[in-house]
């Protein structure tokens, strides 16, 4: 028990920045889960008398051009950020993992599937997402699909690489010669050994999904404008940047800190699973 505790606390002390990142991510989760209790105002409560107020006073982080409370909108924006992140990661894993594993186990199928992944990868990622939005129409769910499709390809590639390596491992060959079925090998040998790289990939995909969604929002092709998302807040504040530059600051910081924290966490997991690094720092 003590040892399990130590495996968690030691890295936290040796990586203070990552620890701060985790704390920030937990804050975002708390914002999303308890938005109505944390936000002092409703996110869409319009107050024309108090437009473009600077931070301070009754409005902690100021108000936007409709007099809506910036802090409240940031808190509610956490919901969409998590939804997008979880949605994109879920889609990328649910599609990329089977494609990658099946391609590694069945080389004939793999040649076709991996070629298709290559074809998708030849599209510049944002253009691919935009094309899909044109077909599907604008909306939160469609934004998730469009961004998810980008990361389907990278996830499938990574899974394919890891699965190819695992397939050649002696214990997998042993299991196979002992008569184990494909399903058994996948669930008992391949998937469990893939958890670390998948965790790393998931945290990076989660981070880049935030940036992708913000770009779509900014172009007016992401979440509908009535939904308080950080990207929409930035897009709306654009016209007022010289008059109310703080409107640009807060939602941007939320996006950057969320993506940065997730990248830190992903890096920390990767360093821990890379034996070379563990050797270097003597862990």
């Amino acid at each position: 028990m003590m040892q399990t505790l130590a495996t968690w606390t030691r890295p936290a002390i040796s990586r203070p920045l990552t620890t701060l990142g985790v704390i920030f991510l937990l804050t975002v989760v708390v914002f999303a889960a308890f938005s109505p209790w944390i936000a002092p105002y409703a996110p869409d409560q319009i107050d024309p008398a108090n437009r473009l107020l600077p931070p301070g006073g009754a409005h902690l982080l100021g108000t936007d051009h409709f007099g809506r409370d910036t802090f409240s909108r940031l808190v509610y924006g956490a919901r969409l950020a998590l939804l997008i992140g979880i949605g994109v990661v879920g889609f990328a894993l649910a599609s990329g993992v089977p494609i990658g594993i099946l391609s590694a186990l069945y080389p004939a199928l793999g040649r076709v599937l991996m070629r298709m992944v290559d074809v998708l990868m030849s599209f510049p990622s944002l253009l691919l997402a935009l094309g899909l939005i044109v077909i599907l129409g604008q909306g939160v769910f469609n934004a998730i699909l469009a961004i998810g499709l980008i990361y389907l390809t990278t996830t499938a590639r990574i899974v394919y690489g890891v699965a190819l390596r695992l397939r050649a491992e002696p214990y997998v060959e042993a299991a196979r010669s002992a008569g184990a079925g494909t399903w058994w090998i996948i669930t008992r040998h391949i998937l469990p050994n893939m958890i670390s790289p998948l965790l790393v990939q998931a945290s990076f995909v989660f981070a880049f999904a935030q940036l992708g969604a913000a770009s779509l929002d900014f172009l007016g092709l992401g979440a509908p404008p009535d939904i308080p998302s950080w990207g929409n807040m930035l897009a709306e504040s654009r016209i007022y940047i010289t008059r109310a530059s703080w409107l640009l600051l807060w939602p941007g910081l939320m996006i950057v800190l969320t993506a940065f924290s997730l990248n830190l966490v992903g890096d920390a997991i990767r360093d821990r699973m890379d034996p070379r690094f563990r050797e270097m720092v003597g862990r």
Binding site: R115, M116, S122, L126, V134, I135
Partner: protein
């Protein structure tokens, strides 16, 4: 080498054909009759019939694809619905801005990403390395349009050093000095990509530094800076060069947003406007051209990689 060249080129062509089928299919995947979607509900039957005929939409799908692909090969990407000019013309008009923007951005990326990556690797584990790696990760986590808006706020609106938007051609009045319009956009676009190249340079340097021949070189008593320059750097940069193709694709993608922020008359902004205008032939054309460019650049990078590093297997 000849066989490798042929195989690699063949693979690129197959990818291009597959991608072109997807791009062609795009217009048929849009819900509803694309003709009505493009012309709007007020279109007369004559207009509908004319456009349907002009786009070849009354032929069977396979025939349509052959006509479309055949035309594309001859440089005819169809007609823009909004401008009523050839799509190639629309792309040509945006090309100068986009190519210059990508080139200047690439210069920033190389000037910042590679040397700082080298510095970070040489000082591995020190606070310099940790600081630079942290900075790189932070830059990679920043939306380019946010950086762009802040650059506008500080250097255009505040200090007035650079113009905030637009780009007059370098062939017009002002000549090369018009490039100052691209300084802020290229910096915004460079930020996340320079961060990636920095990380890649560092990782690649550290990988090569573990090679046996580096240990041998050190054991022979070659001066440390010479080992770094001649033995590590030259080999480490190979991996970095091969990432430039990928970076180029990322630049095209992100330029869509950057050109919108800075109101640059480039191809990326044209795409966004075409989406809002439902000008599908332009979207199709731009995507096809960028995929082609991406494949050609990657092919060239791969082939040059083979030339630069004879150790890469012929396989």
């Amino acid at each position: 080498m000849g066989r490798y060249f042929l195989r690699r080129t063949g693979a690129a062509i197959i990818t291009l054909i597959a991608a072109s089928i997807i791009i062609f299919g795009f217009i048929h995947l849009i819900p509803g009759d694309p003709i009505y979607v493009m012309l709007g509900d007020g279109a007369t039957p004559e207009q509908v019939a004319l456009l349907r005929n002009r786009m070849g939409l009354d032929e069977p799908l396979v025939v349509q694809y052959m006509i479309w692909a055949g035309n594309a090969l001859q440089g005819d990407l169809g007609q823009s619905i909004f401008f009523d000019t050839p799509v190639t013309q629309v792309i040509k008009e945006g090309a100068e801005t986009s190519i210059l923007l990508a080139t200047i951005t690439m210069v920033w990326i190389i000037l910042f990403g590679v040397p700082v990556g080298i510095l970070s690797a040489i000082r591995q584990g020190t606070w310099i390395d940790q600081g630079l790696s942290g900075l790189a990760m932070l830059l990679a986590s920043v939306p380019t349009f946010w950086v762009g808006l802040y650059l506008i706020l500080i250097f255009a609106a505040g200090l007035g050093w650079f113009p905030s938007s637009g780009f007059p051609s370098i062939f017009e009045e002002g000549g090369l000095s018009n490039l100052r319009y691209l300084i802020l956009p290229s910096l915004a676009l460079a930020a996340p990509n320079a961060a990636l190249i920095l990380r890649l340079t560092r990782a690649s340097m550290l990988d090569v530094a573990r090679e046996d021949y580096v240990r041998t070189a050190r054991a022979k008593g070659i001066r440390p800076y010479r080992v770094v320059l001649r033995h590590i750097l030259r080999n480490a940069l190979l991996a970095v060069v091969s990432a430039f193709g990928f970076t180029f694709a990322a630049l095209i993608s992100e330029a869509v947003v950057t050109e919108t922020v800075f109101a640059l008359p480039g191809i990326g902004r044209t795409v966004v406007q075409s989406i809002l205008r439902r000008d599908y032939p332009v979207i199709q054309g731009v995507i096809l051209v960028t995929v082609c460019l991406y494949l050609v650049i990657n092919l060239l990078v791969d082939l040059s990689y083979r030339l630069l590093d004879p150790r890469v297997e012929l396989e």
